[in-house]
């Protein structure tokens, strides 16, 4: 059974139809990379999957449960997923440590001591132990994004959704964030990530899915989709990416 599955997901904002019936299944311990131009619907797909948007049609399943059913308590579903955003979205009025322990204590009812201990362990893994007491604005973009990943991991999510998490970073900070993702993936976390980092997608993803105009045109192993793309739109997109120097 898939951890996360989208079936015929349709989402429109007014007259602008962003997703036109997307099917996507994500198996446990797998990493799926969503690629596609801006406006292709990658972010919207992730926002629909994480119930930050309501779908207009179709279903989303988390561990086999239809989470788009209106009778489902969306707050309880969101607890089981981790989301990392392009702009980090750390809480600026809370310390790094409090950012990480917030959901474990408030949502999952863990004791402060336990949550803190685990948060310190997570921060140690990303090398930010000494920043635990700092406020987010004292950290670099790369450091903030690493904290955001850890914040999402602290709730032990079933699936981690990464929405172009390196797009807002200076180029020299991209590596440190991607290496955290690589480590998390290696430990078996199920991940769906929208990304422009084709080299990274090739290395880490089990499946690459190409989204174009709200339709999932092509998906498969990275060497296939990135190496021998079948669809002309995929080829066109990848050649533009190569021209921009982002495909290693």
């Amino acid at each position: 059974m898939s951890v996360l599955e989208l079936r015929g997901v349709v989402k429109a904002f007014g007259a602008n139809v962003v997703l036109r019936g997307v099917d996507l299944a994500v198996e446990e311990h797998r990493v799926v990379a969503l690629i596609g131009g801006s406006g292709s619907g990658k972010s919207t797909l992730l926002r629909c999957a994480s119930l930050l948007e309501t779908v207009d049609d179709g279903e989303v399943f988390l561990d086999g449960e239809d989470i788009t059913d209106p009778r489902v308590d969306a707050d309880r579903v969101r607890r089981r997923m981790g989301v990392v955003f392009q702009a980090y979205n750390l809480f600026p009025h809370l310390s790094v440590l409090d950012n990480v322990t917030l959901a474990p204590t408030v949502v999952h009812g863990r004791s402060r001591a336990v949550a803190r201990e685990e948060a310190h362990a997570l921060l140690a893994r990303i090398g930010l132990t000494d920043k635990a007491g700092e406020f987010p604005d004292r950290l670099s973009g790369g450091q903030q994004q690493r904290v955001a990943i850890v914040r999402a991991l602290a709730v032990h999510p079933r699936v981690l959704l990464l929405d172009e998490i390196t797009s807002a970073l200076d180029p020299e900070l991209v590596g440190e964030v991607l290496s955290v993702v690589r480590e998390v993936a290696a430990q078996g976390m199920t991940i769906v990530m929208a990304t422009h980092e084709m080299g990274f997608a090739r290395q880490v993803a089990d499946t690459v899915a190409f989204l174009d105009g709200g339709v999932l045109l092509e998906s498969g192993p990275p060497e296939q989709v990135l190496g021998q793309p079948q669809h002309p739109r995929t080829r066109q997109f990848l050649s533009r990416v190569v021209d921009a120097g982002r495909l290693s």
Partner: protein, 251 residues
């Protein structure tokens, strides 16, 4: 500064100045009136403190109602908006008359008739509408991505408001709230129109007995003294907020 000197000279050299001096600025009249006015000011302070707290609570509640989303909650939103429109538009003195004289005239059982309670209620009604708008601006100034981050972690709407949105909103609007507090400090003197013996009313009574207007000046100066510390506090908080913003702490 030059203007102040010119104004001072103009006033003191005016033909009517000696008369004005004895009727408005008589030291002995001021000393005589001072204890009564101070006692009245205590009532103003009570209205200020109790009213101030109620205004914060009520204003926050209205602001939250106004920022609710979704079609199902539209009636609450419309109600809150109508309330704000009504009481922001209506002059405070008219609300004071309506509440202060209208409510007792209903002769309802159990409804207080004290001018202190009704005056405070009228002030709370009007100021909550202003403060609600301040809070609303603050809530809306918190970027939607902050809510998205909070909700994605599984926080409920209430938890998101309490832990993520309101603390940030409050920080943004504190200068504006303190400014409203300064305005409230002098408007509490308006409960005198309902007959409550506050500083203004106490002064009025003495004026009526002595035909000397100095007590008004005394009451006015006491209100100014009351306002100065909060005005300085508002300045300090505003300056701090500006420094924080310039260092780029907010997303």
């Amino acid at each position: 500064m030059v203007f102040a000197v010119v104004a001072y000279l103009a006033v003191t050299s005016a033909p009517g100045w000696p008369r004005v001096q004895t009727t408005f600025f008589s030291w002995s009249a001021a000393v005589d009136a001072f204890p009564e006015i101070l006692k009245g000011l205590w009532l103003n302070l009570q209205v200020l403190l109790i009213g101030g707290m109620l205004i914060l609570l009520f204003g926050l509640l209205v602001a939250m109602l106004r920022t609710l989303r979704g079609p199902a909650l539209a009636p609450l939103r419309i109600l809150a908006t109508a309330y704000v429109d009504l009481f922001r538009g209506m002059p405070l003195i008219i609300v004071l008359y309506l509440v202060g004289f209208g409510v007792p005239a209903l002769r309802l059982q159990g409804v207080p008739t004290s001018s202190f309670v009704l005056g405070t209620a009228a002030i709370v009604l009007v100021y909550s509408a202003y403060v609600a708008e301040v809070f609303r601006a603050g809530i809306e100034s918190v970027h939607p991505s902050q809510r998205a981050a909070a909700r994605s972690l599984g926080l409920t709407y209430r938890q998101t408001m309490r832990i993520v949105v309101l603390p940030q909103a409050l920080r943004t609007v504190t200068p504006a709230l303190l400014n409203d507090f300064v305005a409230l400090q002098k408007d509490v003197g308006l409960i005198s129109v309902l007959g409550a013996i506050d500083a203004v009313r106490a002064a009025q009574i003495i004026v009526g007995q002595t035909f000397n207007f100095t007590p008004y000046v005394v009451a006015g100066l006491l209100f100014v003294l009351l306002a100065v510390p909060s005005a300085r506090l508002a300045d300090a908080v505003t300056a701090r907020a500006r420094r924080r913003q310039q260092s780029g702490s907010l997303l």
